[in-house]
């Protein structure tokens, strides 16, 4: 029975129970599911060459052994199997391979195999998220077949590109533009056409990347073909939307306010994904009249978490991955001492308010064991009595400190910056990079550089020139970086030129080396203060 048939034939309570029943789990029940499924994964892995390689200390017999015997892994541990798509090495036959770009890593991209069972769980979980996006309380939801969906997520082979393919066999939705059309377009074209169609015909559901949504919300007129579009825009518009548009325009003119999406659309559900969602959420809720529901996921873990009806914290699905958490002090210690192996904790061992790096084991025949995704989550609370949840809830914080994620589009690492600087042949002696946010809430990469002594005084190398020069090389080296400028209209790079010798002086004074990427904010401030006290030659005055 498809989801649509269930919606028609079964009581709503049954549909809710099937898809969102996991929210009724107690923490021990949740852990029981997790531990049971991870042992299935261990059994599958033990029978395949990839698993045998990872189980070099023997096959674990229980979860405790699994956590002690299997090392924490990164994509490098799988690259030789996954990049050439060596299916014979895997625990189960994949039915689809998803990709993501990874310019900052040792390899240009990452690939993740998806088995049939994984897709089954993925489908159920994405439908659960859709139900929750339209819900106003436990058991109350409003998903209707034939709803119009504006879909503004990255296409296949990215993980978000799977959503329409998974949903369509289960529920008849009208994607704008249609999936077939969208596949022929670039992401930008797809988003613009989607908005135009939404303005003409209305929409019920909205799936989008937070940063794109935010950008679109701020320039609704231009996206909808407004501004000078005039009569052209009115051609083909449905009477209902025409009435809405005219009344919205009238109200806006009368009140002197800009046209906001909430004036035009009455959404049943609003789903957003991507980093920095937390930054945009309030503004998006204000603009659209409905609070967006955030999803957690990625290429490797698939769709692994969703917010509930209160849209206030992620709950992780119990059957997508087996979750372990590295506390902040543990991964910080590892940054200082790369030989250190951080300890992990399970879902029932967390502390509210603490930040954790997520470690996942993909269940149901996935390829990743104790894999460090590189995402940091904060445990908001261990239970939520208001919503009647007995499970921990999380919020996405950021990537791990050694990776700078800009608006969910690109992930910049030390390796990438080094490469760009070397390609640019600029006389940069020392540098470090941090992630900052501008007044509009956009994230950007702030690159602090020190020029070589002999070039430091050159008037030709101004901050502006450095920035333009590096931007060109970033754009040529990293395709995702290029999309940032194209889709969001933002320049994600700012360069701050430090007085020559500042970084060395800081190291001399404090005895601490400055992390090239993700240095703490207080270190940056200390360096800037120190720069003010330095003399010409880098001596402290």
């Amino acid at each position: 029975m498809t989801f649509e048939e269930k919606l028609k034939q079964c009581p709503a309570a049954e549909v809710w129970q099937e898809y969102c029943g996991f929210l009724d789990l107690s923490l021990p029940e949740y852990m029981q599911i997790q531990k049971r499924l991870v042992m299935e994964q261990v059994e599958l892995m033990a029978a395949c060459p990839l698993g045998q390689r990872l189980f070099r200390n023997g096959v674990p017999r229980n979860v405790e052994e699994f956590r002690t015997m299997v090392p924490l892994t990164k994509f490098d541990d799988y690259a030789d199997v996954l990049l050439p798509q060596r299916e014979e090495m895997l625990p189960a036959k994949p039915v689809v391979w998803l990709h993501t770009t990874w310019e900052g890593g040792d390899f240009p991209s990452k690939r993740a195999p998806y088995t049939e069972s994984m897709l089954e769980a993925y489908t159920r979980n994405i439908l659960a998220a859709m139900i929750l996006s339209t819900s106003k309380g436990r058991g109350q939801f409003h998903v209707r077949p034939g709803a119009r969906v504006l879909y503004s997520l990255a296409p296949m082979p990215y993980a978000t590109g799977m959503f329409p393919d998974l949903i369509r066999p289960q529920l008849r939705l009208r994607f704008m533009p249609s999936v077939r059309e969208a596949r022929k377009m670039s992401f930008g074209q797809q988003t613009r056409l989607g908005y135009k169609l939404a303005v003409k015909h209305g929409m019920n559901l909205f799936f989008g990347m937070s940063s794109v949504l935010y950008g679109a919300t701020r320039s609704l007129d231009s996206l909808a073909g407004g501004g000078g579009g005039g009569l052209k825009m009115l051609w083909g518009i449905s009477p209902r939307m025409l009435v809405r548009l005219l009344s919205a325009l009238y109200r806006c003119r009368r009140d002197g306010t800009p046209l906001r999406p909430r004036d035009l659309f009455k959404l049943d559900g609003f789903v957003c994904v991507g980093t920095d969602t937390a930054l945009y959420k309030n503004e998006l809720a204000e603009a659209w009249g409905i609070r967006p529901l955030e999803l957690a996921g990625g290429t490797e873990p698939s769709c692994m978490g969703t917010e509930t009806w209160s849209k206030n914290g992620l709950v992780l699905f119990p059957d997508a991955c087996f979750y372990e958490f590295i506390p902040e002090h543990e991964y910080a210690r590892e940054l200082e001492d790369p030989a250190y192996t951080p300890r992990t904790y399970l879902m029932d061992e967390l502390v509210a308010g603490q930040k954790y790096e997520l470690v996942i084991t993909v269940l149901k025949g996935g390829a990743f064991l104790r894999y460090r995704v590189g995402d940091i989550y904060r445990c908001l609370r261990l239970r939520n009595p208001e919503d009647g949840l007995d499970l921990p809830q999380f919020e996405y914080v950021d990537r791990i400190p050694s990776v700078i994620d800009i608006a969910g589009f690109t992930r910049i690492t030390k390796r990438e910056i080094e490469k760009v600087i070397s390609l640019s042949r600029l006389p940069i002696a020392h540098w470090f990079a941090v992630k900052e946010y501008d007044a509009d809430g956009h994230s950007y990469l702030d690159l602090y550089v020190e020029l070589d002594n002999e070039d430091a005084g050159s008037a030709a190398l101004t901050k502006q020139i450095l920035q333009e020069h590096l931007s060109i090389y970033f754009r040529s080296y990293d395709g995702d970086y290029k999309d940032l400028k194209r889709l969001l209209g933002m320049d994600p790079l700012r360069v701050t030129v430090l007085r020559t010798g500042t970084i060395e002086a800081y190291t001399r004074r404090t005895g601490r080396t400055v992390l090239p990427v993700g240095a703490p904010r207080e270190v940056v401030l200390d360096i800037l203060h120190l720069q003010d006290t330095l003399g010409e030659g880098g001596d402290v005055q």
């Binding site: 709503a12 009724d24 029981q32 599911i33 049971r36 499924l37 299935e40």
Partner: protein, 846 residues
Amino acid sequence: MTLNERLFIIVPLLSLLCNLFLFLTALSTKKDRLVYAFIALLGSFTMWSGGSLFMRLQLAPGASFWYMVSITGIFLVPFLIYNFIYRFTSTRAPFSHIVQGIIWLVILLLNAGNVFITDPHIVTAGHETRFEYGVSVWCFIPILMAAYTLLASWRLAYKSCQDGHSDISQFTPMLIGVGVMFACTLSATLPQMVSLPVDTFSCLVNAICLYYMLYRRRLVPLRSFTTNGPVFAIALTCATVLLISVYRTADNFYALYFDAYLPYKTIVFSVAASVLTVFLFCIVRRLMTAILLKGAEQQNEELRRFSTDVNKTLSLEALLNLYRDYLQHSMPGYTARVFVLDSRTGCYDMRGATEMSVACRDSFAADDPLMAWLKSRGCCAQYAEFTRSRHFRALWQKEKDRLEQMRVELLLPIMSGSEMTAVALFSRQDDAPRRALSQERLGMLDSVAAVLAIALNNASLYEALRKKAQYDPLTGLYNRSYFQEVLQNDFTLAHHAQLSVLIISFDDFRLYNELYGAAEGDHILKRFADALRVLVGSRGTVARYSGKEFIVSFPFCPPDTATDCAEKARRWLEREVVSAGSGPRRFLTFSAGVSSYPTCARSVEELLTYAGMAVYSAKNNGKNRVCLYTPEPEDKRIAKSYASKRALADSCSSTIFALTAAIDAKDHYTFSHSQHVAEYAAALATAAGLDNEHVEIVRQAGLLHDIGKIGTPEAILSKTGRLTAEEYTIIKQHVEASTAMIRYLPSMDYVIPSVLGHHERWDGKGYPRGIAGEQIPIGARCLCLADSFDAMVSRRSYKEAMSVERALREIEANLDTQFDPQLGKLFIELVRSGKLPVHTDAPPEP
């Protein structure tokens, strides 16, 4: 009468009868607000149909009255439908409900004043009689109100479905009924249909649809049709119709043949009508029961038979066979698999299936999510419901595939209290019709499961008790008594082949317990039992024979197999206990004996005896070895045994001397007394024809028989006066004290029977056990005579020595009471003939 006229009578009559019948049926069911709402609705349909019919027939009190009844029924229908849905969906909106009720009440009152429909009258044109009326402009009010009320009903139903309280399929019959009503009402406006009774037809359809709706919700069971009210209504109607149709004929017949009884005609006809009604009542009731309750009665009969059968057995297998037979019979088209909880492993193992082709090798683990879900649910459930539960998420893919492969449709937990003792999984066979099981059938499955659960619980308790009686609780091996049954069976089986028995007895196990603690002793027994079970495997049966002894039966195996197994067990013990660990070295060995059929034993008893003797031999030959019993000539064996006992006694003589000397310190009579008793008893035993080995046992028993007096207070031993009852009780305890001390002498426990029985009397009045006659071991009887004689002829602190002759007379006097008469006479003869030298303190008799 034209066809139309007939239709206008037949259809409303049918509708009236049907509504009346349902009305009476509903009255006989258990009533709640919903059933009352249904009864009210049926009432309005009855008014509608009945009024219409009687109006056509122009029955008294007149067409106008019946018109008013009919039109009131019609005006009541929308609100009563709303009321019915309101109750059906358990909606809570009393304000709207009351307001609508009031509005409809007002409409009814206005209608009574002919505000909406004016000037109703009968028109007769030719043979056709028609009812005509006018419509006022205000008629739109009840029409709009009816539309609003029906829409409000629909809204309630829709909202209930949306909220998940009801299923849309529940309302399907009602939708059909209302659809028919609308279709009929609309068609009535067509000129072709004006002359047809479509309105009353819609009443008929509606009533049946609503009844079906309640039946599906199990509010009005079919059996309510067979209650007295509806049955009587049918009987009365049939009798009336019959009487009307045959009245003229019967009247003529009566006038022709019973002219003389004309004054009694009314009474005769009344009685005949009553008899006919009762007769029809009986027939209708029987018919209704046969038609409607046949299935239910069959099910009840099956349940009753199943309950009776399962109550007759305590065997798990028999119960499962009965259940399988029941399912095969009552669930055609389904394959059932029954999984029973194994209390030891916690798993549900498949114990039977209704299809012979289904292999019974399946099992569900104790932590299987399906089992956990079924346990929490506690009653029959569809597999689809499980797939919607959160427990389903915890299933492994291969577990899902297995259930899919089984094509499980229905799941039935068999609960005993909060414990799920078994589970039945039903899958539909390929050729079975795709028809859902009725609620009655599902209910019956639950009832049968409840009966089975109690029976399974009893059976498992019985099984547990039976197993408890068979197993040793510490080691989990069979116990001695059950092993003897097993050995007997093995012996019967291996009657024409070989059978070997191995007995393993730990050496100095008491010492091991004292050194390392009883808990450690228990631990090693348990580990050894496990190891032995593994070593023996399927070749034989292992049991715990006594505290420190294990026994193994090897059917169809030569003695070498048993010997080999014993040697392996020895190596295991050496490896795991003696040489294991970094702690202090522990010593534990065992002696083992093997006997075999038919080489050296001819019966089960001999097998056990000889294996025991082989163990004894192994212990006597330095322990920590395995001895195979080999038959030896009797005299050689006795000589060997005697020699060994003698050697043992010699080696222990210093200990015995020390002990008796200790007694001497307290009671100097006892020291020489023991020597004398040993001497007299040995002589008597020799004279009685006992072999040397036995004589040696008696002699040693004589030396040791009073060593328990070491624990008796000196004041009592040397008391000159008569002993009090309390003192006598204390002195009697020396027998048990003696045996307790002898047990600590290395390998001299064979003297215990003689020592223990030396104060027993031939007539059974002795102590400590009060045994009599030949139940008293012969050695003890010898000791008794020797002890009594020496006591009499010796001087004690409390008495002078008795003369020998007097003592012999005393013995003679107590033959058959205190002493064995044969031995007593022999002893007297021995003394009197001088063959037995007597040590006496008494002066020689003059």
